[in-house]
Each structure stands twice: as structure tokens, then as C-alpha cells.
């Protein structure tokens, strides 16, 4: 054995040309793909599962709608008919899956991404000391960091992009325009599972997790802290969300409801002298007895897109800030 060491060294100088060939992925990209193997697989499996689920929801809804149309049971007026009601009831299963399982799951996805992908990403490198292994290589630590973040970042972008698109499509085609269309877009589990919200929130949670992991340097505390901060951030944004876009302010006939699918922010009555009193104040008093009309402040369903864009822009700015801090803190 020891002889091999000695005599085998004769050819060592020529070893540079003897590198294994046919490697498709090289350098840092290979390392980051290898390091993110579990993350990439998990995201891929998640996308496939949710996509299959959504496809099933779509096909099942279409099937029920087809049956209803053929039997003349499509319109709500016919549903008092027992036979039509029986034909309608299979729609409940796909609708239940969408509204009660997929929407909450997609709502929770950014938090899970922050906790399980973002927080451990650097925390584990510090906790296991492998950051020092990386620092001992010839590559610049910031270049490594860029690659280390780009691969999961793009994977999260792609996965949540696909999920958000499919969720929005099924929502639009089968829920909103379905026979029992009722799922106002601004609801707690509806809004975050629509449009650009899942993508923007996931990227933000990922970046926040990475930053927390770099600051805390221990995996479990970083995961807990990231989860708490994402939840707090969600609460704050939800509180501020009505003001991301100008409200519609209307005076309507007394006690008239706000439009279907809109988001009512505040309402009250207009008194004879033209002054406005919020409904909350009127309750159980005689103060509002002389009201002449109602006033409502709300976001119509059409405000969904601009509000989501403003929110996404805000989150992406915060994401960029978090990443800038992470890069600055990584000594070159």
C-alpha cells in the first residue's frame, strides 16, 4: 500500500488532464444543486401533487357542470328540485378540497418555505462549520453565496409561480364562474392563494429566513424566529392592506349591502345634517334613528390586482433589502 503511494505519484503531475469527463454540471452550480437536492425534490413533488389535485378539481367540477347543463339543473332556481339537488351535491367535494385544503395550504406555503428552506440555508452552514470549509476553497465566498441563494430562489420562484397560476386559473374558471360561485377574493385564505401573492410572499419569507439564519447561526432558533416573523409580517401587511389602493367611498340607500365579492372596510349612516356616523357607534343606541342614507367604504373585486401588485412590490423591496444585508455581512 505504501509502495503505491510512492510509485503512483510518478503520474500525479499529469493528473490535471485526467479529470473525469462527461460532467454536465460544473463548478459552483454543481455544488449548489447537490446542496439543494432535497429542497428541489420536495418542491417538485409538491408542485406535482398540487397540480394533480387542481387538475382533478377542474375535471370533477366540469363534469358536474356538464351533468347539470344536460339535465337543466344548472341555474340556482332549479335547485329546490330534489333531483337537481342530488345532481348538484357532487360539486361539494372538489370545492371543499379547493377552499378548505388547497387554499389554506398555499396560504401557509410562504411560512413553510421561510422556515424549512430559508432559515436553515445559512444557519446550518454556520452551525456545522461548513462555511469555513467553503472559505478554504479557491472560490470567493460572495460568489458561492450568490449561487447558494440563486438555486433555491429560482426553484421557489418557479414552484410558487406554477402553483399560483394554477390556483388562480381553477379559482377563476371553476369557483368564481362555477354554478355555486361564491368565494370573495379578499377572504383570509383566498387572497394569499391568488395571483402574485404566493410568489411574492414566498420569496420574501425565503430571504427573511436566510437573513435570520445568518444572524442567529443556529438552525432551530432561526427556524422558530423566521416562522414568528413571517406570521407577524403577514399580520401587519393584512392590517395595512386596505390602504394599498384608494377605497371606493359611496353613499347608498339606507341599509343597502356592499357589492358581491367586494371587501367592506367600513360602513355607517348619513344623518340628516349630512354628517356620517359609523355603524359601530349606532349599535344599540338611538343616535342613528334619523339617518337618511348609508355610506360604505370598500374594495370592489376589481381592486384585487392593483392591491396585490402594490403588496408584491413592497415585499420584493423588503426581499431585496434582506438579501443586500446578507451579502454585506458575508466577508469577501
Amino acid at each position: 500500500m505504501s509502495m503505491n503511494v510512492l510509485t503512483g505519484r510518478a503520474g500525479a503531475t499529469a493528473s490535471a488532464s485526467r479529470r473525469p469527463t462527461a460532467r454536465r454540471v460544473r463548478g459552483l452550480l454543481w455544488l449548489t444543486l447537490r446542496q439543494n437536492r432535497a429542497v428541489l425534490w420536495t418542491l417538485a413533488v409538491l408542485v406535482v401533487l398540487v397540480a394533480a389535485d387542481l387538475l382533478w378539481i377542474h375535471i370533477a367540477s366540469r363534469h358536474v357542470v356538464g351533468v347539470l347543463r344536460r339535465t337543466g339543473c344548472y341555474y340556482p332556481e332549479t335547485w329546490s328540485n330534489g333531483q337537481c339537488w342530488t345532481l348538484l351535491s357532487p360539486i361539494n367535494r372538489p370545492t371543499y378540497w379547493y377552499v378548505s385544503i388547497l387554499q389554506p395550504a398555499v396560504t401557509a406555503l410562504p411560512l413553510l418555505i421561510g422556515v424549512f428552506i430559508g432559515a436553515p440555508l445559512l444557519a446550518q452552514e454556520y452551525e456545522r462549520g461548513t462555511i469555513r470549509l467553503i472559505r478554504a476553497q479557491s472560490v470567493s465566498p460572495r460568489r458561492w453565496l450568490a449561487s447558494r441563494l440563486a438555486v433555491p430562489g429560482l426553484a421557489v420562484l418557479a414552484a410558487t409561480g406554477v402553483l399560483a397560476a394554477l390556483m388562480s386559473w381553477v379559482w377563476w374558471v371553476d369557483i368564481v364562474h362555477g354554478p355555486i360561485a361564491f368565494d370573495p377574493p379578499f377572504q383570509f385564505f383566498t387572497y394569499p392563494a391568488l395571483g402574485v401573492a404566493p410568489v411574492a410572499w414566498s420569496l420574501f419569507a425565503l430571504a427573511l429566513g436566510v437573513l435570520i439564519g445568518q444572524l442567529v447561526r443556529r438552525t432551530l432558533p432561526a427556524m422558530f424566529l423566521t416562522g414568528a416573523l413571517v406570521a407577524i409580517m403577514y399580520g401587519l401587511v393584512r392590517w395595512a392592506r386596505p390602504y394599498f389602493y384608494p377605497l371606493v367611498d359611496q353613499v347608498v340607500p339606507l341599509n343597502e349591502a356592499h357589492p358581491t365579492n367586494s371587501w367592506l372596510i367600513d360602513r355607517g349612516v348619513v344623518m340628516a345634517d349630512g354628517s356620517r356616523v359609523s355603524t359601530d357607534v349606532c349599535l344599540g343606541t338611538v343616535r342613528c334613528d334619523g339617518a337618511t342614507a348609508s355610506w360604505i367604504q370598500y374594495h370592489p373585486a376589481a381592486h384585487l390586482v392593483p392591491i396585490q401588485l402594490v403588496e408584491a412590490a413592497l415585499l420584493l423591496v423588503l426581499t431585496a433589502v434582506a438579501l443586500a444585508v446578507v451579502f454585506r455581512r458575508m466577508r469577501p
Binding site: S15, A16, L28, L31, R34, Q35, G129, L133, Q137, S138
Partner: protein, 309 residues
């Protein structure tokens, strides 16, 4: 091996200091390790050995002073490819296989010598497909050293490299390190608190104690400049030996032994001899730092002379 006037020192510290949360881990360090040497960084646990190596490996930024590595400021990006470092805890990715870990080395280092790295791993009879997390401490050390040597560095920084190894592996890997130094003139700086591990291996010494450099210089010169004296116990009085040369003395039974920092014969009933590496280090490590050089400006001078020599 090269002309010392043209080759810059592998490590050169001027007033180097590192502070952690108010405590100085290392302070007022002035030394130069010439290129091509095998330098032992010795001292008790917590003396600052790892801090010194961490500074050289640019894991840490100095709080004060300057450290030059291979003639460049320690922060120079060119040094990344020229300096290899193995940390004391031998960090590796536990989920990677041995083969993947070596591939990491090949992908991230332009001068990678795969044959060299593979031989070190094969010498330890490690399976290519074994997960790092399933290896013993000694096997992980072997993989870490394969990663460092495969990089073909000009300066190899090893923090307690042999601590986890069995005697066979220790001998093999030390032989491999020495062969690398012989063939390429690689400077090796290794820290250890296992003194026999360094005997016959190092030719340059940095003795670190309580964050200060107490001895720095060519090992032969340092040993020539010291004597290990033995004499009757009565000879070991408080002022029997001149305080400015006495490093440490002990009385055991009827005999007294003393380590003195001079090559010149001394008066008194002493029999002297050149100390071995271990005698020297133990003498300094046993002596309280207050009696050694480096604590007062006047006494620090001989140490600086050794650096210049």
C-alpha cells in the same frame, strides 16, 4: 530551500491582535515564518493557536496590526487558491459521500490534483460511496486533508490536524505532508498540543501562550539557545540562576532541573545539555507567563532577534 532574500515570508505578523467581545485572544504578535518551513504552533489549549491560524486563513479579521500571507495582505483574493486550511473540527458536509466531497474540491479549486486527493483517501481504505456523516473522526480528518492537499497550496494551515488519528494514520498522513513539502516546497503551519507529534517534523517554532508569542524562530537556533540543567536540589535557590535567563526550575527529590535561555555555560554545580523539543516546550508551558519573554518590552527583544535570524 529557495533564496530567502527573494521569497517573501509565508506568514509575517506586525503588532497583530485579535479581540473577541473585549477579550484579547491574541495580542502584540510579531513574527515571520519563512517560506518552505514546517512550522509548529504550540501552546496550551486556549492560548490563541486557532485564532492565529484563523487569521492566516482569513476566517477572522485582525482587530489590530497586520498579517501578510505569502507576501500579500491576508485579505488578497489571490491567496484563496494558494492557501489551504483545515479547521480543528474538520467541517465537512455530513450528507455528502467521500466522492462528492472530493468533487467539491475539484469543482471549486482550479489547480485541483485529483490523483493526490484520491490516494490519500484510498490509503485510508475509505469507500467512495461512504457518507461523511458515517465516518469516524479520524476518517473525516483524512478526507479533510485530502481536500486541502488536493488543492496544491503554497501554504497549508492545519489546526490540530492529527488529534483524531490512530498512530498508523498519523504516520501515513504526516509522511504524505512531508513528501508534499519536499516535492513542492509547500510551507506547512500546524498547531498541536500533542508534542511528540511535532518532534522531528517541525523546523520552525511559534510558541503561543496566553495570547502572546513567547518564542518564534528556527527550531535548531532556539534549542541551541537553551540549556536543560540538572544539579543538586540545594542549588535551586531563589537566586541561584540569573533571573533574566531562567525559564523554569523544579526540584524533584534530591535533584533540581532548570531550563535556561542561554547557550553559554553557567556558574554553579550544574550539568547542562541541549534540551529536546519536548523539554523546551514543557519548560515554557510550565513556567508562568510572567517569567518569560514577551511580557515586558526589554525581554521581548531576544525573541525578535530570533525572528530576524
Amino acid at each position: 530551500m529557495d533564496d530567502p532574500t527573494t521569497v517573501p515570508p509565508a506568514l509575517e505578523a506586525v503588532g497583530l491582535g485579535k479581540q473577541y467581545r473585549g477579550d484579547w485572544a491574541l495580542r502584540d504578535c510579531d513574527f515571520a515564518v519563512p517560506a518552505g518551513r514546517i512550522c509548529g504552533v504550540v501552546g496550551p489549549n486556549g492560548a490563541g493557536k486557532s485564532t492565529l491560524l484563523g487569521l492566516a486563513a482569513r476566517l477572522l479579521a485582525p482587530t489590530e496590526g497586520e498579517l501578510r500571507v505569502l507576501g500579500e495582505p491576508a485579505t488578497a483574493p489571490e491567496l484563496r487558491a494558494r492557501v489551504a486550511y483545515v479547521a480543528q473540527d474538520k467541517p465537512l458536509y455530513p450528507g455528502f459521500t467521500v466522492a462528492e466531497t472530493l468533487r467539491l474540491g475539484s469543482e471549486l479549486n482550479p489547480a485541483w490534483d485529483d490523483e493526490m486527493a484520491q490516494q490519500i483517501v484510498e490509503q485510508g481504505e475509505l469507500k467512495q460511496r461512504a457518507r461523511i456523516g458515517s465516518l469516524s473522526g479520524g476518517q473525516r480528518t483524512r478526507v479533510s486533508l485530502a481536500l486541502a492537499l488536493g488543492k496544491r497550496p503554497d501554504l497549508l494551515l492545519l489546526d490540530e490536524p492529527m488529534a483524531d488519528l490512530d498512530p498508523l494514520a498519523r504516520h501515513q498522513l504526516m509522511g504524505t505532508l512531508m513528501a508534499e513539502a519536499a516535492e513542492r516546497g509547500t510551507t506547512i503551519v500546524l498547531s498541536s498540543h500533542i508534542l511528540p507529534e511535532l518532534d522531528g517534523v517541525i523546523d520552525f517554532l511559534l510558541l503561543v501562550q496566553r495570547g502572546r508569542i513567547r518564542l518564534a524562530g528556527d527550531l535548531e537556533d532556539i534549542l541551541d539557545g537553551h540549556q536543560l540543567l540538572t544539579g543538586p536540589a540545594e542549588a535551586a535557590g531563589a537566586d541561584a540562576l540569573p533571573a533574566e535567563v531562567l525559564v523554569e526550575q523544579r526540584v524533584g527529590g534530591r535533584r533540581a532541573t532548570a531550563l535556561v535561555r542561554t547557550g553559554e555555560p553557567l556558574d554553579g554545580p550544574w550539568e547542562g545539555g541541549r534540551p529536546g523539543l519536548e523539554d523546551l516546550l514543557l519548560g515554557y508551558l510550565r513556567a508562568p507567563a510572567a517569567t518569560g519573554p514577551g511580557t515586558t518590552p526589554g525581554e521581548a527583544t531576544p525573541m525578535n532577534d530570533e525572528v530576524a535570524a
